[in-house]
Amino acid sequence: MFQYIIKRLLQLIPIMLGVTLLTFGLMYLAPGDPASMKLSAQGVPISQDIIEQTRIEMGLDNPFVLQYLTWLRNFLSGDMGKSYADHLPVAEKLMRALPKTIMLSISSMMVTLLVSIPIGILAAVKHNKASDYLIRCMTFIGVAMPNFFLSLLLIYFFALKLNWLPVLAEGSLKGLILPTVALSIAMSSRYIRQVRAVVLEELNKEYVVGARARGVKERIILYKNVLYNTMVTIITLIGLSIGSLLGGTVIVETIFIWPGLGKLVMDAIGARDYPVIQGFVVWMTFIYVMVNLIVDISYRLLDPRTYSS
């Protein structure tokens, strides 16, 4: 197991290198001259001399490979460059937004799991009965409802009409509630359907018939056998969601002015703030490969067949 983890971590190195090269290359190819963009972002009047000077300062006259290696070296030593817009180090900007995003990710993931696993199981057990239809109908609405619309509805009712919660979250704990709910409703709806489907599939397996034929209590079949066996699928789902949540949820964060990564990168894209975007993409990649690794490790822990064969 330990060896496996080491091996997987070593495999991450070429992946990360490839992604950084690609990101850097895309930025290099992107239209517009970074030097003039940087200058215009700072409001410096542009003359050819100043541009040339800035280009040399930024190392833009060097060949691509050299530029990449310089960037990579700085990057590895924690220097992700400075934002064009406000001159703050990119690393600092990311680190400031990150806790907010993690907070929102964890809270909405927890709510989603707490809601969707029991309800999904219920729908599967009551397969094709009234409660199953009701649950499926609700989840259908939940999946179909666009996130931004739901967010606006929530703000309208709970903040404006009922006055229970603040309109603008601004990173406070109370302000966490509405964005969490907005995210969880859509996610839970998807999860409930998925949980229902995997539990149903599992319930139709022969070992369930076998356990019933042995007179094993239905409760034990469900919780100790079926639920455990569906965990592999559910964990894959969680992995995917965590990945995208930690990348920041652009729409919800923007609507609730939640100062997370999603909002940060939206602003950066608007301002063509390349260093911030680069930093963000590398972070996203890192999160995805790490989550993938954790999911793979959990497969091995959950399913004995994967490591013995």
């Binding site: 076998g210 042995r214 007179g215 094993v216 959950l302």
Partner: protein, 327 residues
């Protein structure tokens, strides 16, 4: 001997189609009944009906299944659950499929035991090791600490047999327990099943299409065709003196070591969905007569404890039998 299981005029189906039609038979204490017939004749449906398993979509339409003194068809879900495992055990065809692939075998044993009586894990474990030893599974500890995929098919089937025997049920229903196994392992498993009767006095209903297995194991044989028992009797009687043409062709179809290709049953079995008048085997029967197309299913006695549903060959004049089908 006492009757353990009495099936009376049982009809079972899925959705709108009847599969098992009007079946009656009895299994006495310590008796082994072999049910033979080709694939799709309703053997497994019969077994599911006796188990009354939920989630299999099997609907009992008519008749009753008396197990001891309880009528299984009118039991509540909880009563059925308590019955299964403690008094009724099942062995399935696919070795290992009845075991949860992701759980160690010992947990599955303990869970089956604890579902029926209050027993501490350690005590249960001890009993289980004892049971495995009793069934010739020597390295019980290793087996119990394995996952099903770590054992061979034959071993899994033997584990499944032991698992069915955990509460020492009075009746074991075996659904083609040997068909998915190697021939060498088949013999071993058959021996094991026979041992159940020797050691525990268990009655067994064995469903199979392997005549060899039936010849080895059964006391009585019921031949099923298109959802009905077409011939029933003592094993020796059936094997030596078969009366129904279907039984005869089945016996002819057994491959022998003489290099000749065995003769199969010609044609295809009727679809259960089609309504059919008369004897359902008449379309494939070499002895079919006009009367076969008209007569309703009825049985005629050939000898004591031997009856058939075929008129032309039974040698006895056709009459609506008053003779108890279940004896």
């Amino acid at each position: 001997m006492e009757d353990l299981l009495q099936v009376k005029n049982l009809s079972v189906g899925y959705g709108g189609v009847d599969i098992v039609k009007d079946i009656s038979f009895t299994i006495k204490k310590g008796e082994i009944l072999g049910i033979v017939g080709e694939s799709g004749c309703g053997k497994s449906t019969l077994l599911k009906a006796i188990l009354q398993l939920t989630g299999t979509d099997v609907i009992t339409r008519k008749g009753c299944i008396l197990f001891g003194k309880t009528d299984i068809t009118s039991c509540s879900k909880e009563e059925l659950r308590q019955l299964r495992g403690t008094r009724l055990g099942v062995i399935f065809q696919n070795p290992g499929a009845s075991l949860n692939p992701l759980r160690k075998i010992k947990h599955q044993f303990v869970e089956a035991m604890q579902s029926h009586k209050k027993i501490h894990k350690k005590e249960a474990y001890k009993k289980i090791v004892g049971l495995l030893e009793c069934l010739n599974l020597q390295d019980g500890e290793r087996i119990l600490n394995s996952y099903p995929f770590q054992l061979s098919g034959g071993m899994n089937q033997r584990v499944a047999i032991a698992l069915a025997m955990v509460m020492e049920p009075e009746l074991i229903l075996a659904d083609e327990p040997t068909s998915a196994l190697d021939v060498t392992v088949q013999a071993q498993v058959v021996e094991e099943i026979l041992k159940l009767r020797q050691v525990f006095g268990t009655s067994i209903m064995m469903i199979t299409h392997n005549m060899g297995v039936v010849a080895k194991i059964a006391d009585k044989i019921g031949v099923m065709y298109a959802g009905r028992i077409v011939e029933y009797g003592e094993k020796k009687e059936i094997l030596r003196n078969p009366t129904h043409p279907y039984t005869k062709t089945l016996l002819q179809a057994i491959p022998k070591m003489d290099g000749k290709v065995p003769k199969g049953v010609r044609g295809e079995p009727l679809s259960f969905k089609d309504m059919h008048r008369g004897c359902s085997f008449s379309t494939r029967c070499d002895y079919s007569q006009d009367t076969c197309q008209k007569k309703e299913y009825s049985i005629t006695s050939v000898k004591k404890n031997h009856w058939t549903s075929c008129i032309p060959l039974s040698g006895v004049s056709s009459h609506e039998s008053t003779y108890s089908r279940s004896s």
